[in-house]
Amino acid sequence: MAGAKNMHTFEPPSDGESLQRKPSGFGIGWKRLLRSKTGTFGAVLVLLVTLTALLAPWIAGQDPAAIDPLNRLKPPVWLEGGSSAHWLGTDNLGRDMWSRIVYGSRVSLIVGLGAVLVSGLIGALLGLLSGFYGKWVDAVIMRVADSFMAIPTILFMLVVLAVVGPGLTTLIFVIGVTNWVSYTRVVRGEVLSIKERDFVKAARSVGAKNGRILVKHILPNIMSSFIVISGMNVATTIIMEASLSFLGLGIKPPAVSWGGMLSDGRQYIATSWWVATFPGLAITVTVLGVIFLGDWLRDVLDPHMKEKA
């Protein structure tokens, strides 16, 4: 059942399945978070990255864009030739690695959250319409979703970025617009099942209008799946930003992003490993945190899974 319904979503179908069982609202307490080791770990990582992004100017200590060609590719402080002025070393243009990592967190988070918001809004809206109104609305939206799934995502992004030109906003929108399908499918499935529930039928029988039913009954009930998919998508998006940078379509200098750093640094992996490895680690750690936190959220929002934990 699960597989069939989620044919086209890329994230594990079991999510979709578990989502059909309704949580009764969600009071997430700290206690519950602390009970899960991986959840706590994920939350700590995400919190750390968020704080870094917010407090970047105070943590960084240096201008991440200040170029110093004569001091390029200096190793981290613990290696021979390193200096305490740049404790994580410098990159190919002599910029301070630590400051760049710190400032880079901003772009990764903004792109991650922004794109997820965009795709979440588009996807959820279309999913709602599709599931709620059914008939031709459903048919049209689902065919469009099929078509989007059939076009290679990266190609779509390449074309759009080639037209509009790279930039933070473009990046958010492009990634957002290409990722909405998974939301649509899951939300649609949710709506289809909720629609048949007694409380919706009851509301309808007392004369509630469509809008009211959507807002009062259906929307709150799809929130949990929305949050769960979003967790996954934030991770995917951060990696996607790195991939786009590899193709030369990431954030433009002098703005800093981990993906851009990683991509610029790949030429130096063999000779100056720190240039690519630190941003690579930053991405890995952040994504790790987001995924762990997302897993925990799923467990919490899904009573069935909780039973097992």
Partner: protein, 525 residues
């Protein structure tokens, strides 16, 4: 029990793999010479006595149509399949190719005596008819990418089987340069007329030392020895050109022994290649000069000569060469480098750098700190240089917007002449003549791009274009260079150098035109 073993085996495998890949970075970072490797599992090279030369470029060729290519990498492959009437030797001296001698008949006519007994790879004899077919095709079909270099040729007359006259629409001091440059490869007229150009492109045929064997797009071009080459038996049994887009992969492939020559070695990898056993780095200055081209359109801040001079003085060119380019570059104040007709040696190996004076000039021009605001557009391949230049200009007080474009987007903006104040570009010169550097500063051409207009320069350039006397022609170009060095429609950064990694199996001396003539590369035994 068995199952546990089974799972843990997988687990170990995965963990080891990940851990090892981490260590890999650590090791090489330690500066150890880790590059030695045992004989590669599948080398293309000298196995079983057959001599194979493998060269890796960053890109694949565009096409097997020598007339419809506008890129150096493609031509560097095609020169092994097609011959020119005359060619440049490794010192860029004109030497006979398919023509054994030539003379000027009058102002607009050159006569070429063709080599006897040459055959195309399919057995067709090479005659004056092929010259007529080839040259008239490139001169008349404006859809071909090389057409603009040849369109002043009005006609080719077949005098007899082995003599052809090439006629231009006016005196052309550059005809020999045109005929020895990219796009002048001679095609088989009978084969193409009989089977059509599409068939030719699938199974190309030339007169060169190597025959087409196979082209796997975005992967490799394979050529085999042409036993009946007119200049004796070729040195290699097979020549393979591979396309390896990632620079680090190219270096790895060289170190692992999979290829003999790798082009475009990043400057930071030079030491690593040199330290490796049996690998060398060879460098040579190439025709490309990296430069900033400045718009002089009314209203643009760069229309003010003081601002242009400030830009020049603000940039530490030698510093850029020494750091980012890893020493592989020669600073210059002219784009006509030695080896090109018309070069002015007094401007070569020179550069200006004086940030204090640059600041002064900006003040004189009436700009406060943080102004003027300029946009520098650049193709992503030169991104590092552009970032450094932007930083230097900002130190001097400019406000710079860096506009890094994908190469295709860049070339689109380039041809539509829609850059803002400044664009950075590396410009080559396949004609080896100053005229090619200065076409863009003719008033007609400059319109919309730089809007540079200096009547004196215009007069000198127009004269030189049709001047058949080399001595006075050279003077004219040198004069132009002196004026341009002062007018600064462009600020020249440096002449670039080609950095190649080679295996000890081969001896290779790079050429300034970046061609790979397999016959000039010798096997070492």
């Amino acid at each position: 029990m068995t199952k546990r073993k089974w799972t843990s085996a997988w687990l170990t495998l995965l963990v080891t793999a990940l851990v090892l890949s981490g260590c890999g970075a650590g090791n090489s970072a330690g500066g150890n010479n880790t590059a030695e490797s045992p004989a590669p599992a599948s080398s293309n090279s000298a196995a079983g006595g057959s001599k194979v030369l493998t060269i890796a470029n960053a890109t694949d060729i565009e096409s097997f149509d020598p007339h419809n290519n506008n890129n150096t990498v493609s031509e560097s492959v095609l020169v092994n399949v097609f011959d020119y009437l005359l060619k440049n030797d490794s010192q860029q001296k004109k030497v006979p190719g398919l023509a054994t001698s030539w003379e000027q008949v009058n102002d607009t006519t050159w006569r070429f005596h063709l080599r006897e007994g040459v055959t195309f790879h399919n057995g067709d004899p090479f005659t004056a008819a092929d010259v007529k077919f080839t040259i008239e095709r490139i001169a008349k079909d404006s859809a071909l990418k090389q057409n603009s270099y040849f369109k002043n040729i009005t006609e080719v007359k077949v005098v007899d089987d082995l003599t052809a006259d090439i006629i231009t629409d006016g005196p052309d001091p550059l005809l020999l340069n045109r005929l020895s440059k990219m796009g002048a490869g001679i095609l088989p007229s009978k084969y193409i007329t009989d089977s059509g150009i599409e068939a030719f492109l699938k199974q190309p045929v030339g007169t060169g030392p190597y025959k087409f064997s196979k082209w796997t797009k975005d992967d490799r071009v394979e050529l085999v020895k042409n036993e009946s080459y007119f200049d004796g038996e070729p040195k290699w049994d097979e020549v393979v050109f591979r396309a390896i887009p990632e620079a680090s992969t190219r270096v790895s492939e060289l170190l692992a022994g999979g290829i003999d020559i790798a082009s475009g070695i990043p400057s930071t990898d030079v030491a690593r290649v040199e330290e490796a056993e049996n690998k060398q780095i060879v460098k040579a200055p190439i025709q490309r000069v990296l430069q900033l081209i400045l718009r002089q359109t009314e209203g643009s801040p760069t229309a003010d000569p003081k601002v242009r001079e400030a830009i020049d003085l603000a940039i530490d060119k030698q510093g850029i060469v020494d750091s980012i380019a890893g020493g592989a570059g020669i600073v210059t104040r002219t784009s006509v480098t030695p080896g090109n007709f018309g070069a002015d040696p007094s401007l070569y190996k020179q550069s200006l750098y004086d940030q204090a004076k640059a600041k002064e000039l900006l003040k004189e021009a009436g700009y406060a700190e943080g102004t003027p605001e300029l946009t520098i557009s650049v193709s992503s391949q030169y991104k590092e240089y552009a970032e450094v230049v932007a930083a230097m200009l900002e130190q001097t007080g400019f406000k710079i917007n860096l506009d890094v474009l994908e190469p295709s987007a860049f070339s689109e903006r380039y041809s539509s002449k829609s850059f803002k104040e400044i664009f950075m570009i590396g410009i080559g010169n396949s004609l080896f003549d100053a005229s090619n550097n200065y076409t863009r500063y003719l008033a007609e051409e400059a319109k919309g791009e730089t809007d540079y207009n200096n009547p004196e320069v215009e007069k000198l350039l127009q004269q030189a274009l049709v001047n058949m006397d080399p001595t006075s022609r050279e003077k004219e170009y040198q004069q132009v260079q002196q004026i341009l060095a002062n007018d600064r429609p462009a600020v020249y950064l440096f002449q670039m150098e080609g950095i190649y990694g080679t295996d000890a199996r081969v001896k290779f001396q790079p050429r300034s035109d970046e061609m790979f003539y397999a016959e000039e590369i010798t096997p070492v035994n």
